[in-house]
């Protein structure tokens, strides 16, 4: 449910190091709380994102939530398949449900994010 190789933000985003880049999505906890995701609004590639500043929006039928960037950097790729199949955010939040790929300004920023055990404590779940 909560992969060990990811880092987590207090706003329920996950971040995965892939070489010198960082892939970003939302956690199973966030996706469950939103219920069925119907729409994801993402920035265009090339957009600058700031640590813990909103970069997009995720919506269910009755709720809307800002997405926060877990690292500062430049968006190099966005998951365009979410336009047609937003439901993968619910069914596969760490795989097909990824949202943006970021070229971070400072890769060390990842260290500020939580490891899985700490995130589990935040959401009140057992490891």
């Amino acid at each position: 449910m909560y992969p060990k190789d990811l880092r987590y933000s207090s706003e329920h985003e996950w971040a995965r190091s892939e070489g010198d880049r960082v892939r970003v999505g939302i956690t199973k906890f966030a996706a469950d709380r939103l219920t069925d995701v119907v729409f994801v609004e993402l920035p265009a590639p090339g957009t600058k994102v700031q640590y813990m500043q909103p970069f997009g929006v995720v919506e269910s039928v009755k709720a809307v939530s800002d997405l926060y960037a877990p690292v500062t950097g430049t968006v190099v790729e966005v998951n365009t398949t979410l336009k047609e199949t937003p439901e993968v955010v619910n069914t596969d939040p760490y795989g097909k449900g990824w949202m943006i790929l970021v070229q971070p300004d400072n890769p060390k920023e990842m260290d500020q994010l939580m490891p899985v055990d700490k995130y589990l404590a935040v959401i009140g779940e057992k490891a």
Binding site: F39, E41, E59, S60, V61, K62, A63, V64
Partner: protein, 462 residues
Amino acid sequence: MTARSKSVDVAVRAQHKYIPATESEREEMLKTVGVSSVEELFADIPAAVRLGRPLQLPPALSEPELMAHMRTLAEANLHNDRAVCFLGAGAYDHYVPSVVWHLAGRGEFLTAYTPYQAELMQGELQAGYEYQSMLCALTAMDVANASMYDGASATAEAAVMAKDLTHRDEVLISTAVHPEYRQVLHTYTAPLGIHLREVPYRNGITDLGALAQMLSPRTAGVLIQHPNFFGALEDGAAAADLAHRAGGLLMCAVADPLSLGVLNPPGAWGADIVCGEGQPLGGHLNFGGPYLGMLATRQEFIRRIPGRLVGATVDTDGRRGFVLTLQTREQHIRREKASSNICTNEALLALAAAIYMAALGKSGFQKVSELNVRKAAYAKEVITAIPGFRLAFDSPTFHEFVVRTPLPPEEINRRLLPRGILGGAPLGRWYPDLSDAWLLCVTEQRTRAQIDELAAQLEKMR
């Protein structure tokens, strides 16, 4: 009947026709609640802010007394069953077929709430979907919302939408747009930091040369009205082309959608947002309201359109049904980040518009629209044949046109009233340089005889 608690201002209270509770039921209910008087239920209101006296209102009227009083007020007005109306300027005297309000006025529609419980409200929702579909067909746009307050406020919301879509802060608005729409636009946009600039008109239509000069990388959009406030047809395609080349949007206000029975629709010539007034679609004049704000746009902008949207879906048995959808745009979910604060809309007028458009139908709508063109053209011809009366502009028009008059238009109107004729709108009030200009409107309601009578009266004033 006996007096009850001390809070009552009169000793004996008559049972009221709208309040079912009887004295004995009140007593029973108070007992169930566990208090001895209604007064105790208001104990949480601090004495200092309570009203220690009865409201000072005129005495209550019975239904027959009310009816008599209301008739007296109503008859003090010169309404269009008694006057021959050549007045338009944003509110249009079209024939309303009997079916429209027999159906829209049914209690099942009239006294329903917003259809949040979709399963119970398929009638309202489906009618909303049909309205949206018909408005799209009429305007050649992809998506229409379920209604806004009126043409002016819908136009203001269109400008806000353009700002949000383009992340630019300037809107260019033609001075040939209805003056009240422009005033409303100012009111709505000032607090949002939207910079409004007015584009002059020439020969009764927007000066596209001036527009080209005014466009800039700040331009979120260009707003024209078509047919415009002078009744003239704009070159929408050219305006859209200019706006698009500057990276902005083209917004088109339509004050009388019946014009779209004959005119090339805005969606076909490049408009990005269509806004305007749906009153002519089966709505009564009502001294200015309630009217029907229309708003339609392109598919890619649906998440920025304000107001309610009805969408088709299926139920658990797979049958078609309708719901309010994309509600995350709206204030009850997005609160301060909503695309608008609009909540209550003009759903009943949208329903009436759908019934009107269905009753007129594909050929009827076109026919009525053509009647407007032909009657107005005839009136234009006979009036401008009178010495002293001449066309202010020679641009083609739909059902309104501007005439320069030998006497002040206000004076002409005064002289026409005893003949039972409600003259056109004097334009000097809004356009100081047009103080001798008179905006006449000729709908399908006017007969040749009435037009000839108007001309005969004007003949006497030359």
